[in-house]
Amino acid sequence: MAGSGFAVETLRRDGLGRTARAHVSGRDLLTPCVLQAVSRSAPADGKPPAIVAADAAAAKQSGAIAFHWTSSPLFPGSTHVEGAVELPRLVPKAYGIGPLSDAADLILVRGAVAGALPSKGGNEHLKPLAGSADLVALQNLTELRGKPREFVRAVAGAREAIGPRPLLYGAAVADPASVSLLVYMGVDLVDDFQGIAAASAGTFLYGFGAVSGGLPGACRCHACVSFFGSDPTPGSPSAGGDAPGSGEPAPRAADEEDLGRELGEGRGAASRRDLPAIPQDSALFRAALAHNRGAISKEATVAAHQASAGTLREFVESRVRAYPWLVAALRNLDREFYGAMEALTPVWKERLHALSQESLHRPEVRRWGERLRARYRPPPSAKVLLLAPCSARKPYSLSRTHRSIDRALMGVRPAFAVHRVVVTSPLGVVPEELERVFPAAHYDIPVTGDWVREEVERVEAQVRGLVEAHPYKAVVSLVGDDLPSLQTAIPGLVECAAAGRAWDDSLGRAAEAVRAGLSGEKDVNPRTRTAEDLASIARFQFGAAAAEALMEGAVPKGRYPWSRLFVGKEQVAMHVPDRGRLALTLAGAARVAAADAYRVETGPFELKGDLFAVGVKAADPDIRIGDSVAVVREGRAVAAGFARMGGAEMTAMRRGIAVDIRHKA
């Protein structure tokens, strides 16, 4: 099965996107990777790490890792070349003609490599490849450019079906604007075919879109500098024609339409027969080709960096803005593939920038809401809910705004019966005890004070959820100037802030309202509340049952947030302040594992160092990258550590570290 395979190993993962290493033709192939598409007019250029050729003969020419397509099965006749990887080409049954009942029409397996076609009927036909293939070459994507829903179902759907392990090659579809989205949807390999196609029409591809004849000065790559000159007049459309070495003027469509731009849009350009055709030996073609290849490969390099840094999503959100259909694709992806993406999204990252409307629906943000609903319950001692505005500074409690609230509430008793909850976008609400949990302490958002309806509705729904889950005696708000509608959405809410009212005035009213709400309440021991807050974090992190098992008889020690949890003399967990999460000790791991949660089962072997995926027998599918987990052998917890893969990924992968071991029996 994997004997002649590519030994695929994920290096860093960010949702469906990743950087990976595979062993192909005796060499390391690092992904995301752009296969340089080579043909007679577009021979291999520079030293590409890998190429894809139309046929076996062309594949032989280069020193790179070579892939080549077989000929259409309708016209057999290709010969294989030693050392090159054959990509099985199928009869391109188009996406539109499904549902096709016969999966055999849609995949073609040759050893570790499978050719595959997308199908309107779903991706069931790809599932057998999850275990058997090391590389899946997805074809017929070209006609899905410009069709956001179909494009996403074909690509992200293929990744979902084949699982996290095999390499996925999305053929002949990438341009600079779409590379990052393709990577984000789980594509490891793309090619620069669209770069050749565009160059053949004299069109230059940029991250922001496509321009016929190129935009002098917009790019400083070697090809552009030598074609347009080192000091072109920006915006001068004739610069191309005057540049040294170029024999012909930049092409212009007779009807003044920018056909090149249409080419980048995908749809519509499809049936144009009046695109300019640039001679293959012209300076313009060579410049456009070299530029386009560089532009696509640069995007993949940046995407690799972003995936490693955990900021691929931010990059995608900025790049898709080149074309409306790509934005629509991202929205479809969020709507239809949340589950697949969330399962592979780390629970902790260094930062999160919510930059666009799409940010409201990114997996990290949606997961926050889902966990709040499914796992969170306010601390039992809380009697008054105080809704507070968010702050740029995180965690909120260190901000000026929140320190001013602290001062206003000074002397209000019992102080630990107040439950402060921050109202914010994109997350919705952040209970104070979760303020250090990712992404609450890590997000940044352009703040203008304008809330869109979607944000307001999210906040209202979440506040309603809190009020319904817990018998607060009073709900006091300090956010009325931003969100005046809360007052009608939450019956009985005492609104203290209003547009035009001085903050100190609002604070005074809030302190009064809180004091009134708390009148007659018994004192709350600060240690009790700290234990409750840590239990909240545990529930958010491990779910109710495992949190209960972990917290049973546990007593916090140390000053929050530097808290540690003890049962008797034995430590079960510590709170990690900069992650807002609990790290299990071996004893804590045993407790969580006993509740049948966050456990990774291994075979009967002695752990030496970290636990590798190949040694994982089973893993809780709720485990996410960054989670504190229990390693269990023959029913006994033998180690605690941090997950480096999602639970399902641990069983699917055959290489790489599954659990970074911290405590061992």
């Binding site: 309708l74 016209f75 049954k93 539109g96 003609i97 074809q139 695109l275 055709a277």
Partner: protein, 343 residues
């Protein structure tokens, strides 16, 4: 065998049928033709018939002629009346009558034998040659012999489409093989009929380059058993699988340059055994074979000349900047595993 495409074809059928009464033919027109290497006038009649029996179970992926058929077979007298009316409209000097039934003229389930014979006799008084169309399975001695010797040359046209059985099966859903077509044609010749073979240029799921190769091979295959070989570049009919693909951006009809290329490559290889011609239907429209628009008329005129004379020098003067665009497709297609337009 190819269950998937059969299902797909069935899924694209529309409900439209002939609106005309059974005594009225669908349409008739005059066109230029060639008889024995000299120009001749032909009259085409599209009959209002039951249509192709094979279409009733699935049909071909590109054929939408069923939208001009009747739900029930009309009486023989109605068919005869259609031809009587059409013949009354015969253009000046017409020597050839071409009868298209949107099906198989020789299939008695579609056109009664007495109607077949009566139509042949009607035509014999007026024309030198009669062309009818049929799938090869209906070309049998008992059907064909009675139609011969009536004082008119009978030519039977076969939809060979391709010489590649996988293309026939997996993309056209033709329901027969190239050899079955050849044998039908050889039978027709043995009985004394002439044979015309249609080739489909650019079936779905083939790239432009693949379809050119396929068509050239088809012409070479058909030459020994055909009197005429006709290259029919795809014209997208309503209610077909090809139309669905076209709307999905997954299919584009072939370039006129591809017709030129097929003729240029095939004529020398056919060794004069059969005449190669092409009269693209729906040419220069979005649904038919076209070039950039500026050179279409000129290229079509050259195709017509070569069709008549087999003299390829008529192509020599053709020049247009879009030819370079067409050429690019050959380079790009093998790198993009798709049948969709690439630029």
């Amino acid at each position: 065998m190819a269950v998937a495409i059969q299902k797909a074809v069935l899924g694209t059928k529309v409900k439209v049928r002939s609106p005309k009464p059974p005594e009225q033919y669908i349409s008739t027109w005059r066109e230029d033709d060639v008889i024995d290497a000299r120009p001749a006038v032909a009259q085409v009649v599209v009959m209002n018939s039951l249509g192709c029996i094979y279409e009733k179970s699935a049909g071909c992926s590109m054929c939408g002629y069923y939208t001009e058929t009747l739900p029930k077979r009309p009486p023989a007298e109605a068919y005869i009346e259609q031809i009587r009316r059409a013949v009354a409209q015969a253009p000046e000097g017409a020597e050839v009558l071409k009868i298209y039934t949107s099906g198989n003229f020789l299939d008695e389930r579609e056109v009664q034998r007495e109607a077949q014979l009566a139509i042949v006799k009607l035509a014999a008084g007026k024309y030198k040659r009669l062309l009818v169309e049929s799938r090869p399975e209906f070309v049998t001695e008992d059907r064909v012999r009675p139609l011969l010797g009536n004082g008119i040359v009978l030519e039977i046209a076969f939809g060979l489409e391709s010489a590649n059985d996988r293309v026939l099966d997996e993309t056209v859903n033709k329901g027969n093989t190239a050899d079955e077509n050849r044998e039908g044609a050889l039978r027709a010749r043995a009985y004394g009929a002439r044979v015309k073979s249609y080739l489909l240029l650019k079936p779905p799921f083939l790239t432009e380059a693949e379809s050119i190769d396929d068509c050239v091979e088809g012409a070479v295959f058909a030459a020994p058993f055909s009197d005429t070989v006709s290259v029919n570049p795809m014209n997208i009919h309503k209610g077909t699988l090809v139309e669905r693909l076209f709307y999905d951006g997954a299919y584009r009809p072939p370039w006129l340059w591809s017709v030129v290329e097929v003729m240029t490559r095939a004529i020398p290889r056919m060794g004069g055994a059969a005449r190669l011609m092409s009269a693209p239907t729906g040419a220069s429209t979005r649904r038919g074979s076209s070039n950039c628009g500026k050179c279409d008329a000129q290229v079509l005129a050259a195709i017509a000349k070569v069709s008549a004379t087999q003299d390829l020098s008529h192509f020599r003067e053709l020049r247009c900047s879009c030819r370079a665009r067409w050429r690019w497709e050959f380079e790009l297609a093998p790198l993009a595993p798709t049948a969709a337009p690439l630029s």
